[in-house]
């Protein structure tokens, strides 16, 4: 590249500004009060990078670029405005996939240039191309499958078939072999490259298909990390430091979130990705057979409302079931009705509540629950002992005391909310199905536990009515 010495400077300085803005953007995300301005800084950084690139002297055709930008922006605006907050995991999955796909295409084009003789093929360039295409393609097709599972277009169950791991291992070995050949080969081979690309796409599908729906939060976080790696790989291909820095930041971010989710679910990443967890457990379904000899104590909405209405302090524990029933507005109504009676109401949020990291916070924020009422697990656990009523809504494994006390339980060691230590526990639940881990929950049989069966939304509506009816008392 024969550029005048100051030209690279003119191009690289804006990229450096972009990288700095992105770092500040993430830094400001540390508090709800500054987060929005942080996000705006990020968008500004992106704008600067795009303009700097457009002013690049090697850019010749503007029409196609502008058309692409306009179409992409239009789709982006509509999608961002119309998506429901409950569908956030799907949205993030799709956006992940698009980023991965774009990175793969950019890397693939670089290989085609080499094949056409327009660029020189040193081994390190081809290696970065190969990595970019592999990670980008896996992210793209994996995200499509994750979206399908979350949207329930395809079954949320873990799909398993005989020799699954062998097939995947063989495919992966083939990809590594083909990639290695492409790197060391003297002559570029477009046909082998094409096969390599399609095999990478197939690998993404086969990797995500066997993962159950409830594990999707981990998968999304992991794919989020992968888009970062793909972008960084593209940066290596084009020797663009902005891409490398940003890709590394996003890669690290996704990895940390993946770790947090795994720890909160008491599973290793390997176990999530390859364990085909939840193959046998149905997504929902009617009440399974109750264990003989032991009964749970049912409660009517009226009695539950009295228990709640005369409590001094209530901690609400929302779970996956609340997100599925989309009952976040009803739970806010209940909190308001109780607060009107002078009850102290707080929400205890387990790290894996909802369908992606932090999802429950977003759903409750959408329903106007002030964020200072949302309390993280570590900060609220000690308070349960001093709480009159813990109200568990559609959560199961994350409140199972066996995680503390029963070393033989698959949940043992998982961090849980200590609701069983509250004076009274009310559990809103559809039926007596075991949770995702397929484990019986001792909490439901406890002396101080009352069960209110039914759909979370209608149970909550009934509770709100009862609570308001006794407002005079």
């Amino acid at each position: 590249m024969n550029r005048a010495p100051f030209v690279p400077l003119l191009i690289d300085v804006p990229y450096l500004i972009t990288a700095v803005l992105f770092i500040f953007a993430i830094k400001r995300l540390a508090s709800p009060t500054t987060a929005r301005s942080g996000n705006a800084l990020g968008a500004l950084g992106m704008l600067i990078a795009v303009i700097a690139t457009l002013l690049h002297q090697e850019i010749l055709g503007f029409q196609a670029i502008l058309a692409g930008l306009v179409v992409g922006s239009a789709i982006g605006v509509v999608a961002a405005r119309t998506v429901k907050m409950t569908a956030m995991p799907q949205m993030v999955a799709v956006l992940n996939g698009l980023g991965g796909g774009a990175s793969a295409l950019v890397a693939a084009d670089e290989y085609l240039r080499i094949a056409a003789g327009a660029a020189t093929a040193t081994a390190d360039v081809v290696l970065t191309i190969i990595i970019g295409v592999l990670v980008g393609a896996v992210t793209f097709s994996g995200s499509v499958i994750a979206f399908g599972k979350l949207q329930e277009v395809i079954t949320g169950r873990a799909v398993t078939y005989p020799l699954q791991k062998t097939v995947n291992a063989l495919l992966f070995a083939g990809i590594v072999a083909a990639g290695g050949w492409l790197v060391v080969a003297a002559e570029p081979s477009p046909s082998l490259f094409l096969a390599f690309s399609f095999a990478s796409l197939l690998l993404g599908v086969l990797l995500v298909v066997p993962i159950g729906g409830a594990d999707m939060p981990v998968v999304i976080a992991f794919l989020n990390s992968a888009t970062g790696i793909a972008a960084a790989a593209t940066g290596f291909v084009l020797r663009n430091h902005a891409l490398i820095i940003v890709g590394a930041l996003v890669g690290a971010s996704g990895l940390i979130l993946t770790q947090i989710m795994c720890r909160a679910m008491n599973r290793s990443l390997v176990n999530v990705l390859f364990g085909a967890f939840g193959a046998a457990v149905g997504a929902n379904g009617a009440a399974a057979g109750r264990e003989e000899g032991r009964t749970v104590r049912e409660v009517t909405a009226e009695d539950a409302a009295i228990l709640l209405g005369y409590a001094r302090s209530v901690i609400i524990v929302p779970g996956y079931g609340l997100a599925v029933a989309q009952a976040q507005h009803q739970v806010r109504d209940l909190a308001n009705a109780l607060e009107a009676r002078g009850v102290e109401v707080r929400f205890a949020i387990h790290p894996v509540a909802g369908r992606m990291p932090g999802h429950m916070n977003v759903l409750l924020a959408e329903a106007n629950v002030p964020y200072d009422q949302l309390v993280e697990m570590e900060r609220i656990n000690a308070d349960f002992e001093r709480t009159d009523v813990a109200l568990v809504i559609g959560a199961n494994d994350v409140v199972n005391p066996a995680a503390r006390s029963d070393p033989s339980s698959p949940l043992y060691g998982m961090p849980i909310l200590d609701v069983d230590r509250a004076k009274h526990v009310i559990v809103l639940k559809r039926g007596m199905n075991p949770g995702f881990a397929g484990v019986e929950n001792e909490l439901f049989f406890q002396e101080n536990t009352r069960m209110l069966f039914g759909d979370a939304k209608s149970s909550l509506t009934a509770l709100v009515q009862e609570a308001k009816a006794m407002a005079g008392g």
Binding site: A43, G45, G72, V77, M88, L238, V246, A248, S253
Partner: protein, 97 residues
């Protein structure tokens, strides 16, 4: 090769910055964090612009334009949806302010 080494340096250092930054983000903001970093990873857009802009034949330009569309949806959609979420977190509880 020197360029590659430099690039690796930058990558490794940026990973450390990323770890430092992200570990300070509270759990309550993890979803906006994901969609926000996701939008940021749309930076691959600048790579797509380079590909589409160098006019090296119809196939290359097609790759570039498709990549631009994908990356722009990723960036624009990501920033806007993150803003939508963060607006909800900014809302003060009634009675205050």
């Amino acid at each position: 090769m020197e360029g590659l080494l430099m690039a690796i340096y930058i990558f490794v250092l940026a990973v450390f910055v990323g770890f430092e930054l992200i570990t300070k983000i509270p759990q309550i903001l993890h979803t906006p964090l994901m969609s926000g970093t996701n939008a940021i990873s749309g930076i691959t857009l600048i790579g797509a612009i380079v590909v589409a802009g160098r006019l090296e034949g119809p196939l290359s330009t097609t790759f570039g334009v498709v990549a631009i569309v994908l990356a722009t949806v990723n960036a624009v959609g990501g920033f806007l949806v993150t803003d939508r979420m963060l607006r909800m977190f900014q809302r003060r509880p009634e009675g205050e302010s």
